[in-house]
Symmetry: C2
Subunit: 464 residues, 2 copies
């Protein structure tokens, strides 16, 4: 046999099957165009700093001091760093055993874990126990569609089966528990063991916030069906309306009381990449386990140990995020000003984008209640769908590529997230700078309306 | 069925099978003792900063400035940072798109990848092309025994089979290619497809450095047997003798010329955790692929994309490590002084440890030619082996636990790395502070010799 071990033909089939659109064809073409000198507006990944968002000052001061602890002995340190940043840096250094360059416990620095636990206690009003770091394995897993492809990709890589449940676009991307029941029944009839259910709240790419009533239904459903609930809550700080504030799955579960609050297995996720922090490149987060038996926790710890240690600087960002400055602290005013500035601007941008999309021909878009994305439906005329087929492209990929070439706006086609047959979307972040927004939206509208005019077929009614 | 999805009984069998001794029973007991107030000398993990090694100043200055780029606009920056650190920070910031808080390309920041490629070119005298980040999958994989359990654990987690080849303790932990042939033949007779071979050079836990001749043999063997060679070269800066300097598998391969240099598939690993940097908590590294077909590289990129981005600050450490200061740079003298100080002290400590172990009753130890470990053989008397059995412990675990309780020295039993039947070892790092070394070794000797006296059975000859 002439094949070598790492020839494509020999690779594991699960690897080949993985689909990952966020950095797929559109992204690669955008990178090419950029190299050719074209100005590209990258709205394909929720990557705020790449689009000009400034990092919060205080956490960066603290981590810089932790990286360079010799600065703490420099008589000039007070000229460049406020006293509270200095104190906080000393605090975190005292929690490590050897500073940022030492492996930490595989579960994370105990003192930082404590800060995370206290944060969850404050947020949810009940005790917390938790671990850092992120492994995985599974059979059938319920995942919302449309969904963030991290889930589909990981499940496919590990040889599991994604069991889709559809979010209702006409009900503001709400989650109907009857759909869940149907999805599970269908999966079981195919012989799958359904083991877990993922919720993304606030939603990516759909931007909806789950209500408390909806969360209760989901929890009850998981309990009845004996599923682990995986709560992806990385966007919990990103809320752009006041009717449905973020409420954690854990809080709802705890409020439901025993037996369910003592039995339902729940894993919740949070990260420093999102919120008004946007510290994506630092790679920090935690997951929190509720009602997992100690033996399972031991196994998770063992697997986490293989990677030795989570990234220590990122743990400090995590600590700073869950244990923020308090009124009266020297840097408090600046911290609040920066945070509010980011959040309020995101709220305005969510509005501008939704309204912008809804002003376009054959485009309808739900409001971005939370997270950082807009997910407009693009009602493609039949002639456009045919043109796409002729070009050998999925229709929404065809549309997004044309959008990219015409305007430099780099989006992700809805097919990367899953959508109902014959319905098309694109995803864009709401992250471009606020002052650029009107120009971006009018450039989009100009492209879209021209596209629609070109392909419009008056004999064909596009459908919802 | 009353079992829930994350009950222990339901977990994936591959997870349960994983063994990971470096953070196993000994480590947990040591942590307990520490909590009880006992002074513990943690020599179980190669974690230099945790044992007091100071980080190099220059890279920390650069990364601190990258974390807090607003310092670059502070008129006082020159009081606290040298000009070359300021220049270098600006350089790395200019390579990112959005500073340390932005996701980078999943393959790493292009500019840093270029620096890594240039480093490899300088080191090996030939072109390099490479990717950052670390996925994996496999069937049968040849792994040295004794070996670093990262390999056994990962292979077992992924459902592959470890195919052991034994290093020869009496030949200074050398690698005999005839052993390799035997191991492969045996694995094939069991129906395994042997796909890859791991070498660790310099060795962990065994500390040997592979000679050029030996590397040629290995490369020829992999070529004949159609195996990918995985070269774990994370200790390439850690060399404590002059007869066998580090030589990369890639250089040897390239020097062998075509067809083999154009065909053998090789993946080489390097990290900022080791060397005289010891930046373990930063979690940075790269792997470099030689002769992998572009389609496979695309698949690896796709899988890496799922995790979005490697840790950006760690990529800057990587850049600083492969592109160090040059003579004439302002901080050069200090950088060299610090680096040399660490390396020369490690060299002396390697000597003190080897000699110390060899002065003990029933202990024989090869010299640590490289890496950061000493791996003495402990010739346990029969009575000690029986006592261990009675206590329900593996004999070397029994010995190491007693050592821990008596002296606070936390080591890893040889059984965690694999060893021949009936032969026992322990692994310790050479990292405790040099001034503490004599006391540690005499505390060890006192414990060991007493232990041996206690269990010595004059009727039983312990064997090599
Ligand atoms: C829903 C969701 N979960 C998780 C993540 C992962 O974030 P990170 O890996 O940066 O923490 C993302 C990133 O966009 C996301 O959208
Ligand atoms: C042989 C070997 N390879 C790889 C590693 C992993 O190092 P890291 O994950 O810190 O880069 C280690 C750590 O001790 C090692 O000994």
């Amino acid at each position: 046999m002439g094949l070598k071990a790492l020839d494509y033909e020999t690779l594991n089939e699960n690897v080949k099957k993985v689909q990952y659109a966020v950095r797929g064809e559109l992204y690669l073409r955008a990178s090419e165009l950029q190299k050719e000198g074209k100005k590209i507006i990258f709205t394909n990944v929720g990557n705020p700093h790449a689009l000009g968002q400034k990092p919060l000052t205080f956490p960066r001061q603290v981590v810089a001091l932790c990286q360079a602890p010799f600065l703490l002995d420099d008589p000039n340190v007070g000229l460049m760093f406020p006293a509270d940043a200095i104190a906080r840096a000393k605090h975190y250094l005292s929690l490590t055993s050897g500073g940022l360059g030492a492996y930490s416990d595989s579960r994370g620095i105990p003192g930082v874990r404590k800060e995370v636990a206290e944060f969850i206690e404050r947020r949810d009003g009940c005790d917390a126990d938790l671990e850092l770091y992120y492994p995985w394995e599974g059979d059938g897993i319920l995942v919302p569609v449309p969904q963030y492809p991290l889930y589909s990709a990981t499940i496919s890589l590990l040889g599991g089966s994604l069991v889709p449940y559809y979010l209702e676009e006409t009900a503001n991307w709400g989650l109907d528990v009857n759909n869940l029941r149907e999805s599970v029944a269908q999966a079981r009839s195919k012989g799958l063991t359904v083991r877990a259910m993922v919720i993304i709240n606030p939603g990516n790419p759909t931007g909806q916030c789950l209500s408390e009533a909806n969360l209760r239904e989901i929890i009850n459903f998981c309990y009845q069906e004996n599923l682990v609930l995986l709560g992806d809550e990385v966007y919990q700080q990103n809320i752009y309306q006041d009717e449905r504030p973020f409420i954690s799955a854990r809080k709802v579960l705890m409020d439901m009381g025993p037996p369910i609050s003592k039995e339902l297995q729940l894993i919740s996720f949070h990260t420093v990449s999102k919120g008004y922090w946007g510290e994506c490149g630092q790679r920090g987060g935690y997951f929190e386990m509720t009602n997992l038996p100690p033996q399972t926790v031991d196994e998770i710890y063992k697997i986490a140990s293989i990677a030795l240690s989570p990234n220590v600087p990122a743990q400090i960002f995590m600590g700073l995020m869950v244990n923020p400055l308090k009124p009266g602290d020297i840097s408090y005013e600046q911290f609040i000003r920066e945070s509010q500035g980011i959040l309020q601007s995101l709220r305005r941008r969510a509005r501008i984008m939704t309204d912008g999309f809804n002003s376009c021909k054959n485009v309808v878009c739900n409001f971005t209640e939370g997270a950082m994305y807009s997910f407009p439906q693009i009602r493609l005329p039949l002639k456009a769908i045919e043109a796409a087929k002729k070009a050998g492209k999925v229709p929404d990929v065809f549309y997004c590529l044309k959008l990219l070439e015409a305007t430099g706006i780099s989006t992700v086609p809805g097919s990367g997230f899953g959508q109902k047959e014959g319905v098309f979307h694109l995803r864009t972040t709401i992250l471009p700078a606020e002052e650029d927004m009107p120009a971006i939206m009018s450039s989009f509208k100009k492209f879209n309306d021209k596209f629609m005019d070109e392909y419009e077929d008056k004999w064909n009614q596009s459908r919802m």
